[in-house]
Amino acid sequence: MYNFEFEKPTTVADAVAALGGDDAQALGGGQTLIPTLKQRLNQPGKLVSLTGISEMNGVSVDGGVVTVGAATCHADVEAGAGAYPALAALAGQIGDPAVRNRGTVGGSLANNDPAACYPSAALGSGATIVTNTREIAADDYFQGMFSTALEEGEIITAVKFPIPDCASYQKFLQPASRFALTGVFVAKYGDNVRVAVTGASEEGVFRWAEAEAALSANFAPEAIDGLSVSADGMVGDIHGTPAYRAHLVGVMTKRAVAAAH
């Protein structure tokens, strides 16, 4: 790793000020960033840790919305998001216990890894990404693999998840990385069903519109029969071909609908 300065502010305002300088970068739980720095893929002059900011930490429930501070680690979401069981269950499936004790929801959404779990929960719930300057709808936030609507120096402070009638996340594990080979998050809000797919597309997380329409009319696994996504643009690697991933999208969607009931 190249050396850098380290700063650990205790307020969002101080963090934003510290990030204002040249080549400063936010540090969440470091579970993605530290491995990247070890490979010298990145050379920030300063890391600004967000984990000492109490206003960015914790889970609260108010008026049908679960708000998660962006510096809350996955283990605390698993323990604290009981009002939204599918979200708590998703957090509990990320990586392993030590990763969950450090990795944060803000870091996961800022990174937008195409195989990460949280992006599917945010998109599948129609969540709102709250930053130090604005609120961004999940539909506008994800902009393809590893890219998001965040501006330079902008930090996620919280994420607001509307609580659905029912929901489920089904992850087909890639056992070596512990990420999703393909994962599907299904959430039902009244007559409106959202289906978000991670791990499959080269564009990162996406909504499967045909499945949403079919499930909004009939919220049952059979509603998916006959539907398929194209293998074009799906990820292909040693763990699975594009056609295999496209097939998994249908399978995991059905499982999620069955589990959501």
Partner: protein, 177 residues
């Protein structure tokens, strides 16, 4: 301090290092670190506590697991300065006060939960974190909790047995697969 390579006064320590203090295995510990110094490096190289092993250095193997404020973390994937002021527990602090092995360590010995021993410090620290959260885990819960701890020798079976025994359960009831 005059540095002949660059022909002027230059003190690296002054320029690039910060003192961190934390409580390690119940004792105050401090030392000078850079921004990039990992907790694993600080424990092993500054404090000489080489029990936490660096197996992969890519956040995959769990040989470096220690507890920070009671939570299991991979010390190779946390900056030393992030642990400033924290309570850190490592394998070196696990034995009983009289120096004998604690319940988990003894169970690893009794059930042959180790061969080369490289993964063992991380396994024991993960097991300790699990049993604190869940004093009587099922076999499935033990296996799930150890997902981030890799062992290249034992095939895991005896490690799971040891942890079941350490939690006061019947280790022999676990069938070999």
């Amino acid at each position: 301090m005059f540095n002949s390579a660059i022909g002027k006064d230059f003190d690296y320590r002054e320029e690039f290092m910060t003192q961190v203090s934390m409580t390690v295995n119940g004792q105050a510990a401090s030392g000078d670190v850079e921004g990039r110094t990992l907790l694993s490096t600080f424990l092993r190289e500054t404090l000489g506590l080489t029990g936490a092993h660096v197996g992969c250095d890519t956040s995959q193997c769990g040989a470096c697991v220690v507890h920070v404020d009671g939570k299991a973390v991979k010390s190779c994937t946390m900056l030393a300065q992030e642990a400033a002021g924290a309570t850190v527990d490592t394998i070196e602090g696990q034995a009983n006060a009289d120096g004998s092995l604690n319940v988990i360590q003894q169970a690893f010995q009794d059930h042959h939960g180790l061969q080369c021993g490289f993964c063992t410090p991380g396994m024991v620290m993960s097991a300790a974190a699990l049993l604190k959260e869940n004093p009587k885990p099922t076999e499935a819960e033990v296996r799930h909790y150890l997902e981030g701890n890799l062992c290249r020798c034992t095939g895991y079976h005896n490690i799971v047995k040891a942890i079941m025994a350490a939690s006061g359960q019947d280790a022999e009831a676990i069938a070999a697969e």
